[in-house]
C-alpha cells in the first residue's frame, strides 16, 4: 500500500446526491439473512476488486445462530488507500424489512437505498436518501423458476450491482462459474439466469443519479498480481510458508476455519493436523509434534486459549518451540462469539501460572496475517519458545486484496534437526539459548535428555534449589528480552512530534491510520505507531512517546478499574509516562474512524489542548 491520501469522503467534501460523478471508492452494504448467500456476493465483489488491482476491504457480521438470522456484508472497494471498511455506506441493499430498519442509518446522507419491494416498505417521509424499490424476489423467481424458492436473490443483486457500478461482467461470470462449476450444470445455469436478470434490470436511472468507478483510477498500481482472501486464510498460508506441517486444534468460532483449512492442506505437504478431544489435548498434540522436532501449531479463540494455559506454562518451562493462534472474540466466557474484542492481551502475555514469558505478536491487517505467521515461526525456532499470534474476529472474516507475497523467498525448511549431539550437549544451557534435541538425534555422550516441566538444571534433572530457579527463571526471561533487542526500529506514520501520538495494535490499524490522517487534515499534529510485538515490547518507544503531548492508546477492550485499556496499562507500567491515556470501547464492533477522531478531540479538550 502507498501512504496517506485519505479518501474524498473521509475528509467530508462529498458533493450533492444527485450529481453524476466518479469516485475513488464505494462502500456497499448488503443486509439480509445468513441463508441468503450475502457472504457469497460480498466475496465475489471483493474478489473482483482484487482481480482488478483495486484495493478492497470488507466487513462481515454473521449471527452466532446455527442457521438464519440477520447477516450483513460490507464491501469497500476502490483505488488508493482503503484502510477501513468505511464508517458510512454509499449504497445499502436491504432484503427484508428488518434489514432496512437496522441498517438504514448506516447510509450517508445522499446515499442510495435499494430495497426488495416484495418485502420492504421504506419510510416514505425519509428524504435523506434516494430510495429505489426493486422486486428482487419476484424477478429472481421469474428468471430462475419457482422451484428454487427465491434462492439466487444474491446473484440477481450481484447482476444489479454489476450494472450500477459498470463492473467487469466477463470477470464476474468467470467467478460465478468457478464458484458453482464443481456442482451440477443446473446450478451454474440458474446462477447465470439470475445474474443476467439482475444485470438486465432497467437500472440506468440508478446509475445516472449515482456514480461509477473512475476508469482512470482503476489502472493497475503494482507489478505483482493481487490476491484476495480473509485473515484466517492468510494466517493459514503464512503458517505453511513458515514451515508448519503439523498441528492440532478443537473447533471454536472464529478460529475454526484455520483448523479446517490446515486439516485439508497439510496432508498435501506430507503433514498432519489432528482434531483433538479438547483444547488441552490440542495443545498437547501440538507440543508433542514440536517435541518430535516439527514446528507445530495449535490455536483457538479466547475461552480455548484459557484452557491451554497450563500447557503453555510447560512450553515456557521446557523451552519448546510452538505457535499458538488466538482469534480473539468478545469475552469473558462464551461472551460474544461472533464479535470482535482485543481483550485477550493480558491473557496472552501473562496467562498461565508462574513466571512464564513468551512472545506475543499481532497482525495489523489481512496481508500481515501471512507475514506475522512467518515471523512467529522464525522466532519460535530461533529462541525455542512458544509464540502467540493475536488475531481477531474482524481480521478472521475480513477479505482484503493485497500484493501476492514473494513465496519463493519466504518458504522455511520444515525438516527437524536430528543431527548427532556431541558429549558437550546440554538440553538447557545457562550460557546460551536452548536448542531442543528431538528424539531420533543421537547423544554421543551417552546421556539422553528428559524435557520437563519441573524446574531443572542444565541437563534437565529436577533441581528445586533456590539458586537454580533464580538462574533458570532469568534464562527464560532473558531470551525473550533478546527478541526485543532484535526487533526492527519502530516507524512513525504522520507527524514525528506534536499534539497526539495514536498507538494501537492488531486489526484496528486501518481505522487508526485513517483517523490520524483525518485529524492531520484538520490541522492537528498527529503521529501513529502500531505495535506488532506486544511481548516483548519494542525498546525504542520512549523517545517517540516523549515527542507528543498525549499518547492515546486506542484498543477494543475495557478501560478497567483504573481507566486504562490493556495495552495502555502495559505501556504505563513500562515507561511510567502520565501522557499515556486510553481510548477504549466494548460494543463488540471494530473502531469507526469517527470514534477515534472523537476520542482524540475529547482527550485534547479534557487534558489540555495546545
Amino acid at each position: 500500500m502507498s501512504t496517506t491520501a485519505s479518501s474524498s469522503r473521509a475528509t467530508g467534501n462529498s458533493s450533492g446526491p444527485s450529481s453524476a460523478r466518479s469516485i475513488h471508492d464505494a462502500v456497499i452494504r448488503l443486509a439480509g439473512d445468513s441463508q441468503d448467500g450475502i457472504q457469497t456476493i460480498g466475496g465475489f465483489l471483493a474478489r473482483l476488486a482484487g482481480r482488478s488491482d483495486q484495493e478492497v476491504m470488507t466487513y462481515m457480521t454473521i449471527p452466532s445462530t446455527i442457521s438464519g438470522g440477520p447477516s450483513i456484508f460490507q464491501v469497500r472497494m476502490g483505488t488508493g488507500d482503503i484502510l477501513t471498511a468505511g464508517d458510512q455506506t454509499d449504497l445499502l441493499v436491504a432484503f427484508y424489512q428488518h434489514s432496512y430498519e437496522s441498517h438504514v442509518e448506516s447510509l450517508r446522507p445522499g446515499g442510495v437505498l435499494i430495497y426488495d419491494s416484495d418485502h420492504v416498505k421504506p419510510d416514505p417521509e425519509d428524504k435523506r436518501f434516494t430510495a429505489i424499490g426493486v422486486p428482487i424476489t419476484s424477478r429472481t423467481v421469474e428468471s430462475v423458476g419457482g422451484a428454487t424458492k427465491g434462492k439466487g436473490k444474491n446473484i440477481f443483486v450481484l447482476g444489479l450491482l454489476g450494472r450500477i457500478f459498470d463492473l467487469d461482467v466477463a470477470k464476474l461470470t468467470t467467478l460465478i462459474q468457478e464458484r458453482f462449476g464443481g456442482r451440477s450444470e443446473d446450478i451454474v445455469r440458474n446462477a447465470m439466469l439470475a445474474f443476467d436478470s439482475g444485470y438486465a434490470y432497467p437500472a440506468d436511472n440508478i446509475r445516472d443519479c449515482f456514480f461509477r468507478f473512475d476508469a482512470k483510477a482503476q489502472e493497475a498500481s503494482s507489478g505483482r498480481p493481487q490476491v484476495t482472501m480473509d485473515g484466517n486464510l492468510a494466517l493459514t498460508y503464512g503458517l505453511i510458508a513458515a514451515g508448519v506441517r503439523y498441528g492440532a486444534g478443537y473447533p471454536i468460532t472464529p478460529w475454526s476455519s484455520i483448523m479446517e483449512t490446515l486439516r485439508s492442506e497439510l496432508p498435501k505437504y506430507g503433514g498432519i493436523f489432528v482434531q483433538a478431544e479438547d483444547e488441552l489435548g490440542a495443545i498437547a498434540y501440538a507440543l508433542g509434534f514440536s517435541y518430535a522436532g516439527h514446528l507445530a501449531v495449535t490455536g483457538s479463540s479466547g475461552p480455548g486459549l484459557s484452557l491451554k494455559m497450563e500447557a503453555l506454562g510447560w512450553a515456557s518451562m521446557s523451552e519448546i518451540p510452538l505457535l499458538v493462534i488466538n482469534v480473539q472474540r468478545g469475552g469473558p466466557s462464551t461472551g460474544l462469539p461472533t464479535n470482535v474484542e482485543q481483550s485477550d492481551l493480558m491473557q496472552a502475555i501473562y496467562g498461565s501460572h508462574g513466571d512464564a514469558p513468551r512472545v506475543v505478536l499481532a497482525p495489523k491487517n489481512v496481508e500481515d496475517c501471512f507475514h506475522v505467521a512467518i515471523e512467529a515461526g522464525r522466532i519460535a525456532r530461533e529462541y525455542s519458545t512458544p509464540v502467540i499470534i493475536l488475531s481477531d474476529q474482524v481480521l478472521a472474516t475480513r477479505i482484503e486484496a493485497f500484493d501476492e507475497p514473494d513465496l519463493k523467498a519466504m518458504m522455511a525448511d520444515p525438516k527437524p534437526d536430528l543431527s548427532d549431539r556431541g558429549p558437550e550437549f546440554k538440553p538447557f544451557p545457562l550460557d546460551r539459548i536452548t536448542r531442543h534435541a528431538p528424539p531420533g538425534s543421537r547423544m554421543l555422550g551417552g546421556h539422553y535428555p528428559t524435557v520437563t516441566g519441573l524446574e531443572h538444571d542444565e541437563n534437565g534433572h529436577p533441581a528445586a534449589g533456590p539458586e537454580m530457579h533464580v538462574k533458570m527463571t532469568a534464562k527464560r526471561r532473558d531470551k525473550i528480552k533478546a527478541v526485543a533487542a532484535a526487533l526492527p526500529p519502530t516507524t512513525v506514520h504522520g507527524d514525528p512530534e506534536g499534539d497526539v501520538l495514536l498507538v494501537g495494535w492488531g486489526s484496528t490499524w486501518g481505522s487508526i491510520r485513517e483517523a490520524a490522517n483525518r485529524l492531520r487534515a484538520d490541522g492537528r499534529k498527529v503521529g501513529q505507531v502500531h505495535i506488532r510485538s506486544l511481548n516483548p515490547l519494542p525498546n525504542d518507544l520512549e523517545p517517540i512517546f516523549r515527542r507528543y503531548r498525549q499518547v492515546l492508546v486506542a484498543e477494543l477492550n475495557d478501560e478497567g478499574l483504573y481507566g486504562f485499556g490493556q495495552l495502555a496499562t502495559l505501556l504505563r507500567a513500562r515507561w511510567a509516562l502520565p501522557s499515556i491515556r486510553s481510548i477504549t470501547k466494548t460494543d463488540g464492533l471494530t473502531f469507526r474512524v469517527g470514534e477515534i477522531v472523537d476520542g482524540v478531540t475529547a482527550s485534547l479538550a479534557r487534558n489540555g489542548n495546545s
Binding site: 474478489r47 482484487g50 492440532a248 505437504y269 498437547a284 501440538a286 508433542g288 528424539p439
Partner: protein, 315 residues
C-alpha cells in the same frame, strides 16, 4: 506408509551400540523403598534389552504423579509433561515420527481421573504407542487422597470415613473406548509383567497395560488379593489357541470385546493377562492414507509450488 517422517534418515546401523541395562539406566528412582514401581522399571529395562530398538528412537513419556517420574529413571529421550495429558502428547510423537518407539507411563489419577478424557479418545484414535498404567489406587505424591480406583470404604485424607464414590473399572473403560491391546498385570509377577509389556510394545496400535503396583506408604496391602505369596490368587487368563480341541472353547477369545468386558466385570481381584487384542487400522496408517491421497493429487510438486498454486486460485 507415506508420511513426512518417512523422509527422516535414521542413524547408520554400523556404529550403533547395543541396548544394555546399563546404557538405558537413568537417575536413581526417588520412589519409597518397597514401592511396586521399582519392579515395573526393572521389567521395562528387560523388555528394552530384548527388543533392541535403536537407542535414540526410544521415547519415554509421562504425566504427573509418583509413577510419572519414570522418564528420569530411563536413559532415553523422554519427557515429563503435565498432569493427565501425556497421552495426546505421546500420540503426537508417534504420529509425527514413524521411526520412534513411544512409551507413556502414569498412574491411576493421571490416567483415569484428570486424564480420563484423553485415555478414552486416545484409545478411540488408536495411535501406535504403548501406555503403562501403574495403578496403586491412591494419590501418593500428594500423600494419601482417594483415587479413581480406590475401593469403596477406603479411608484417605479426602475420605476420612471411607470412600463413597464408585471406583472406575479400568479394563471395562478401555474395552469400551476402543483400545486395541488391553492387558492387566501385578507388580509382584515379574515374568507375567514382562510378557504383557513385550506384547504391548510389539502391538501395532494403542496398547495399554495396567499394572497393580502397591503403594507401601499410603495403601499397603492393596493388592494382596492378587498376590499368591500373600495368600491371594493370581488367576491368569487362558487365551484361545484355536487348536480345535473342545477345551479351547472354554478359553478366552481375545478378539471378543464382549468377553473382555465380562472378564473386566469379575469380582476383585479379577483376572490378569490379555483381555482384548484386535488389529483395526492405526491412526498412523489412516493419516498416512490421507497423506498418500493428497500427495497423489499434487504429484511432483514442491511445497513451494503447492502453495503457489493455492495463491494463484485467489488472484
Amino acid at each position: 506408509m507415506v508420511s513426512a517422517s518417512s523422509e527422516i534418515p535414521s542413524a547408520p546401523a554400523q556404529d550403533r551400540l547395543p541396548i544394555t541395562r546399563k546404557s538405558i539406566t537413568g537417575d536413581h528412582p526417588t520412589w519409597c523403598p518397597g514401592c511396586g514401581d521399582f519392579a515395573v522399571l526393572a521389567v521395562f529395562y528387560k523388555v528394552l534389552e530384548k527388543l533392541q530398538y535403536p537407542h535414540e528412537s526410544i521415547v519415554t513419556m509421562a504425566g504427573i504423579g509418583c509413577s510419572s517420574r519414570f522418564p528420569y529413571f530411563v536413559n532415553t529421550h523422554g519427557g515429563h509433561y503435565i498432569h493427565g495429558r501425556s497421552l495426546p502428547f505421546s500420540a503426537a510423537i508417534s504420529l509425527g515420527r514413524d521411526d520412534l518407539h513411544v512409551f507413556a507411563f502414569g498412574g491411576d489419577g493421571d490416567g483415569f481421573s484428570i486424564g480420563g478424557n484423553h485415555l478414552v479418545h486416545t484409545a478411540r484414535k488408536n495411535p501406535r504407542m504403548t501406555y503403562v498404567i501403574m495403578d496403586n489406587s491412591v494419590y501418593g505424591l500428594t500423600k494419601k487422597q482417594t483415587s479413581p480406583t480406590s475401593p469403596l470404604g477406603f479411608k484417605s485424607k479426602t475420605d476420612p470415613t471411607g470412600a463413597i464414590d464408585q471406583p472406575i473399572n479400568p479394563m471395562g473403560t478401555l474395552v469400551n473406548s476402543g483400545a486395541t491391546f488391553i492387558a492387566r498385570s501385578h507388580a509382584t509377577q515379574i515374568n507375567h509383567m514382562a510378557q504383557m509389556m513385550e506384547r504391548a510394545a510389539r502391538h501395532d496400535g494403542f496398547s495399554v497395560v495396567e499394572i497393580l503396583s502397591e503403594c507401601v506408604e499410603f495403601f499397603p496391602g492393596a493388592f494382596d488379593a492378587g498376590n499368591p505369596r500373600k495368600g491371594g490368587a493370581f488367576s491368569i487368563i487362558e487365551e484361545r489357541k484355536n487348536d480345535g480341541t473342545p477345551e479351547d472353547e472354554q478359553r478366552h477369545d481375545t478378539s471378543d470385546a464382549r468377553a473382555a468386558y465380562r472378564l473386566a466385570s469379575l469380582p476383585w481381584p479379577g483376572a490378569f493377562g490379555v483381555f482384548y487384542e484386535s488389529h483395526r487400522p492405526t491412526k498412523n496408517q489412516l493419516e498416512g492414507n490421507l497423506i498418500s491421497a493428497a500427495r497423489q493429487k499434487v504429484a511432483g510438486k514442491s511445497d513451494l509450488q503447492i502453495l503457489q498454486s493455492s495463491f494463484a486460485k485467489l488472484r
